[in-house]
Symmetry: C3
Subunit: 212 residues, 3 copies
């Protein structure tokens, strides 16, 4: 029990990292579309919170995460105001490698959290795995829809959603063992992150369509 | 009462047909956009369940149909994995005629089910007719939005939503008569199907814009 | 208390004006995309009610406004049927100036109503200001998404959402004073309307991206 504060703050740090990386992807996309400040904020917000929000609407869970934690919305708001100068600095300081790692960490956390909340709401296990993937990827999907693009995660053939899917099933499978929920959560989230980084490192693609 | 099992299994068969046809339309659209396996599954899923899901979110009804019946989600998942080889076979075996008929059956069932559930939730009758149409067409609308297209049902001028609209009103009107709910449901759904097939057969269009 | 009927009917008039202006923007956009009657009705409906509907879904508030007042849905339905001849007449009778004024009135009313309902649902104040803006602008955002466009309000650099944002904060700020809620509501809504008209009059833009 005395470890709870440490535990909570680690989750909080990962949460902030995941949200910032989601928002960053929104900033980049919104700027590519030459959006104004309203668009940049909204797209960043949707990219950061869209997946979890859709999951909560489907599960009918309220209040939404970002409604309970307005500090995250305020953080994205401030970042949106600073996005133009910040983007240059971010690009100078933070390499693509760092962004991919942070994004992979976020994917792991979001997907496992999504599956976990679906199981807590007594969803069937296949639905729980879908809720994990939805939480992990639909921020990006909704970001792309608002930006009038076919969602990247649906067409680039990279195993992104699939890493989330496997990790969600790992978490679900571990529920049938004696391991603690904490252990299940962390190993599953870490597995997604490592799997995602491996597939990125080796630039793996899933060839689905027959080659011409 | 002893007829219930038969009745249920007929509805179940129609349901599966309607879901499969919805998913098929998603497969076709996702492949046209050269989506990967994640996109093909998601778009097929949205095409099959999007209309009913939107209706349930608007009415605040939970759990969602596909959450209660994960077997349908698993079915679409398996079909998505098989979609590339299956598509060739489907095109060889099943003619366009069969797909149109199955789709018309699905439209009738979905639209009447949507109106019925809205009335059961004490919605006003015009709203109930809208819920019927939403259930019938928004799977396709959401599919087209995710695929970055202007929804087909909003621009082709074919009386598709309109058939659903008339059938929903027929069902609502029959509530004010002495006929059983079962009779109202089946005659209305069948009327939508026949009306849709008639308008397809004669390639009817509604000319809305003034001709230049 | 004896003034309530007058008060209600003033709100009702403004509501109808705001809904009509929202629907009108949908008619224009849907016709530009050469949509059929189903598309014209749906896009007008989404433009008129999308913002409030999204807010209510996020707050989990039911029944939705347009579900309780089916007369508004019927009104838009009738207008959609008449849209082609009506559009010419509307353009002859009503100048762009009148539409901008009506739209500014609607923006003020919707934004303040959104913030007010979020506060009533015990939302934190930053979230309440966001709900105000969402109510004010997401009808147009969803309209543009359905019409396969990048939402105008995210890219034209005009202070539209920003007027709503300031007015929502004005309303929130007035909650900490002794003024009546009615006074807070009307002054905030009026401020948004005037601010919007001022920025329109002087064709103000917010330059967000660095000029090349």
């Amino acid at each position: 029990m005395k470890h709870v504060p440490v535990h909570v703050s680690l989750i909080t740090v990962i949460e902030i990292v995941a949200i910032l990386v989601g928002a960053l992807s929104g900033f980049v996309e919104a700027r590519r579309k030459r959006m104004d400040i309203v668009g940049v904020f909204t797209v960043a917000f949707i990219a950061a919170f869209g997946g979890g929000t859709l999951r909560d609407i489907l599960l009918d869970k309220r209040p939404l995460f970002w409604v309970m934690h307005q500090e995250y919305a305020i953080l994205i708001f401030v970042l949106a105001l600073l996005a133009t100068p910040l983007m240059r600095t971010v690009k100078q300081i933070i390499s693509e490698r760092v962004i991919v790692v942070a994004d992979a960490i976020g994917l792991g956390l979001f997907a496992v959290a999504g599956a976990s909340q679906a199981l807590a709401a007594n969803m069937p296990i296949f639905i729980a795995s879908m809720m994990g993937v939805i939480t992990g990827i639909f921020g990006g999907v909704l970001r792309d829809i608002v930006c009038n693009e076919v969602p990247m995660v649906f067409r680039d053939g990279k195993p992104y959603a699939i890493c989330a899917f496997f990790g969600a099933w790992m978490y679900i499978g571990l529920q049938y063992t004696d391991v603690s929920d904490d252990f299940a959560l962390w190993t599953s989230a870490t597995s997604i992150t490592l799997l995602r980084l491996l597939t990125w490192k080796f630039d793996m693609h899933i060839h689905y369509h027959k080659q011409p």
